[in-house]
């Protein structure tokens, strides 16, 4: 059994994996780009090795370099986290070829599920229902796709063949807008995955995105850990996840049925380690296989909180050749968990990513609160990687309790120096529809705006005016002390502009 693990990732997930490794008494090795010398995963690791310049292609995507480091420092296994090299069958194979355990599925399973066309064919053959589309048809040119579009019917989705996480994905409502959207999707797919191929898929309207967590060991055991509700998305990026799903909640029959289908899909590709089967579920509880993510998911903690299973720990045990610690009968969902993804982005300005130095953090804590974070006070948020800075996860006996706790925790959270989407979550959690569990994958885009939410709330406009005035007054008083009498005709706005630069630059 291996004793030293290299974590080929960064940010919160590298820290998350490192924690389980350390608790198992394993030595931890991390890799880092020049932008991440002082990142948390480097500070916490036993060993850390420089990969190269900040861009991922020159650092975190350099599989060969990472394998060479692993061999040189005596690491015996590699955990890829999510993103970067996590779903690259060639990398998984290269690890095995180099005599390293890959903490994830077999390369053949990654390949089978990674090519969405193959994935659909495989699970379809195993008797799992899929969403209509062109995935089985190979890599088609635009003119073929434009012909097939009307046959599948609008609205439909253009999706990247090599994709995931909403990148290279576009929604098409009619034939007219299809050419330009195909272009945009291909361009983004090429940039994100180095592969511009796309396919079409019927858009299931009023759909919910519900996924099942799978664990499979090398002894033929495959179990599921229940579902996660992931319908709250923006531009196909998940924002808030729950376990269980309020749509399934007490329908234990549906849960076990979908769970059994998920296990069957996993078995169809001879699956090993942790994975996730994503379903679209329509309002009549018809469910369609969407895709399988052959890696640890960002949102895995909600499942951990309701099952008490440490998924990363199980991943490691499985990769060490040990059998699962649990049978299907051991798994019972207890209580309710919610995760909010905290991103460095401006919810009041079209969610534009925000970079800069984090001057101050005050983290929520206390009963039932878990924070998986990759940042600290004084750290720089660079533009090179995704904008996820932490995941705030809470547990409660019931959904209502979990919601109240999440509100409480969001209200405690302070991040100064970059904009975050904390206010977005605060407003979302106040929505009637959210409280009643009534939402689909389009809810955030079609039925929610932070500006509108602000209007509905008891307005503190007078208080805000007072506070702004008190701060402005303080600044004017202070600058009055340092400005020469002859120069005091300088306008307030100039002074504020200067203060502004000081504050942002500090």
């Amino acid at each position: 059994m291996f004793k030293k693990v290299l974590i080929a990732n960064r940010g919160e997930i590298a820290v998350r994996i490192l924690r389980s490794c350390r608790e198992l008494g394993l030595q931890t090795v991390v890799v880092f780009s020049e932008a991440d010398r002082c990142a948390l995963h480097v500070r916490y690791a036993d060993e850390a090795y420089l990969l190269g310049p900040p861009p991922a292609r020159q650092s975190y995507l350099c599989g060969d370099k990472i394998i060479a480091i692993a061999k040189k420092c005596g690491a015996e296994a590699i955990h890829p986290g999510y993103g970067f090299l996590a779903e690259r069958a060639d990398f998984a194979q290269a690890c095995l070829d180099a005599g390293l355990a890959f903490i994830g599925p077999r390369p053949s399973s990654i390949a089978a599920m990674g090519d969405k066309a193959k994935a659909r064919a495989t699970v379809s053959a195993a008797g799992v229902t899929i969403v209509p589309g062109t995935e089985g048809e190979g890599n088609l040119r635009d003119e073929d796709l434009l012909n097939l579009g009307p046959k599948i019917g609008f609205p439909l989705l253009v999706k990247a063949t090599a994709g995931g996480g909403g990148k290279g994905m576009r929604e098409v409502r009619n034939l007219e807008e299809m050419p330009s959207l195909l272009q945009a999707a291909r361009r983004e797919a090429e940039a994100s995955f180095g592969d511009g191929n796309v396919y079409l898929e019927k858009l299931v309207e009023k759909a919910r995105h519900i996924e099942f967590q799978i664990l499979a060991d090398g002894w033929g055991n495959v179990i599921h850990l229940g579902e996660r509700e992931c319908s709250l998305q923006r531009r196909h990026q998940k924002l808030l996840e729950e376990a269980p799903s309020p749509f399934i909640e007490n329908d234990e029959g549906l849960r076990q049925q979908m769970g059994a289908v998920a296990v069957r899909a996993a078995r169809a590709v001879n699956y090993l380690n942790a994975g996730t089967i994503e379903f679209l579920v329509d309002k009549d509880k018809q469910y369609y296989f969407l895709e399988m993510n052959t890696r640890l998911q960002v949102e895995h903690p909600v499942t951990e909180l309701v099952t008490n299973v440490d998924i990363v720990r199980e991943q490691i045990r499985i990769a060490q050749g040990q059998p699962l610690s649990y049978t299907q009968e051991d798994i019972h969902l207890n209580g309710w968990a919610i995760e909010c993804r905290i991103n460095a982005e401006d919810p009041f300005n079209t969610f534009i990513p925000s970079t800069g130095t984090i001057h101050h953090i005050l983290s929520p804590a206390g009963p039932g609160v878990r924070l998986d974070s990759g940042v600290y006070t004084g750290m720089e948020i660079s533009p090179y990687y995704d904008s996820l800075i932490s995941k705030l996860i809470v547990w409660g006996n019931r959904r209502e309790e979990a919601i109240q706790r999440m509100r409480r925790a969001l209200g405690e959270y302070r991040i100064v120096g970059v904009q975050t989407n904390i206010p977005f979550h605060q407003n979302l959690l106040e929505q009637e529809h959210f409280m009643h569990g009534q939402f689909d994958t389009r809810f955030v885009e079609n039925n929610f705006s932070i500006e509108r939410a602000g209007e509905d709330k008891e307005t503190h406009s007078k208080i805000a005016a007072m506070m702004a005035t008190l701060v402005a007054h303080q600044h004017i008083q202070r600058s009055a002390h340092v400005i020469q009498p002859g120069k005091r005709d300088m306008s307030n706005w100039k002074r504020f502009g200067r203060l502004d630069r000081m504050q942002k630059g500090g």
Binding site: K167, R187, E188, A191, S192, A344, D346, F348, N349, T350, I352, P353, S354, T355, G356, H359, H360, P383, Y384, Y385, D386, S387, L410, G411, R414, V416, I422, P423, Q426, N427, G454, K457, T459, H460, S461, K462, I463, A464, A465, M466, M467, A468, T469, L470, V471, A472, H473, Q474, H475, I476, N492, W493, F496, G497, L499, D500, Q503, K504
Partner: protein, 165 residues
């Protein structure tokens, strides 16, 4: 000191009476206001109620993030404002809009060109940062001028990329 503070449509006449008293539109409040040590966070106790806001200056406006809502406040010295109004400077002139890069990134496309007329909401630049493509839109109708970036350029945060006048 007396100030006129504007948030959205609403104007407040605010007087800082002394360290512990502020009046808003004539109503006097008991306040205890303090900055949380060097953090841009401010704690206000007002008639006993405890409120905390993140307050920063941006382009001469104060941004107040209070309980999940963002307020944009203009604070002006009352006498100055009245003077400006008298001199006819009170009316807002149609200013130039400078499109600044909200973050460092790579310019993916510039779908507009010099002198082109644009509508409010029209995409001016597509900027890639943090693995996302971000469409930067025009906040109002106007005419594009001084285009200073092209596809493939790397831009710094706050760098002006083009203007709409």
């Amino acid at each position: 000191m007396r100030y006129i503070t504007t948030i959205g449509e609403k104007e407040y006449l605010i007087e800082i009476i002394d360290q512990h008293h502020v009046s808003v539109d004539g109503e006097v409040f008991n306040v205890d206001f303090t900055e949380i040590k060097g953090q841009l966070l401010y704690s206000l106790l007002i008639n006993g109620h405890s409120l905390e806001a993140l307050i920063s200056a941006d382009n001469g406006e104060w941004q107040v993030l209070l309980q999940g809502t963002m307020y944009q406040a203009q604070v002006e010295d009352e006498s100055q404002k009245r003077l400006k109004a008298t001199l006819g400077e009170g009316t807002t002139p149609s200013q130039e809009f400078h499109l600044k890069a909200p973050m460092p990134g790579l310019v993916i496309a510039v779908p507009v060109s010099e002198d082109q007329a644009v509508e409010k909401g029209e995409v001016l630049v597509i900027l890639e940062s943090m693995k996302m493509q971000n469409e930067l839109k025009s906040p109002r109708a106007g005419r594009v001028c001084r285009v200073r970036v092209k596809e493939g350029d790397n831009v710094e945060q706050r760098q002006t990329m083009l203007c709409v006048m």
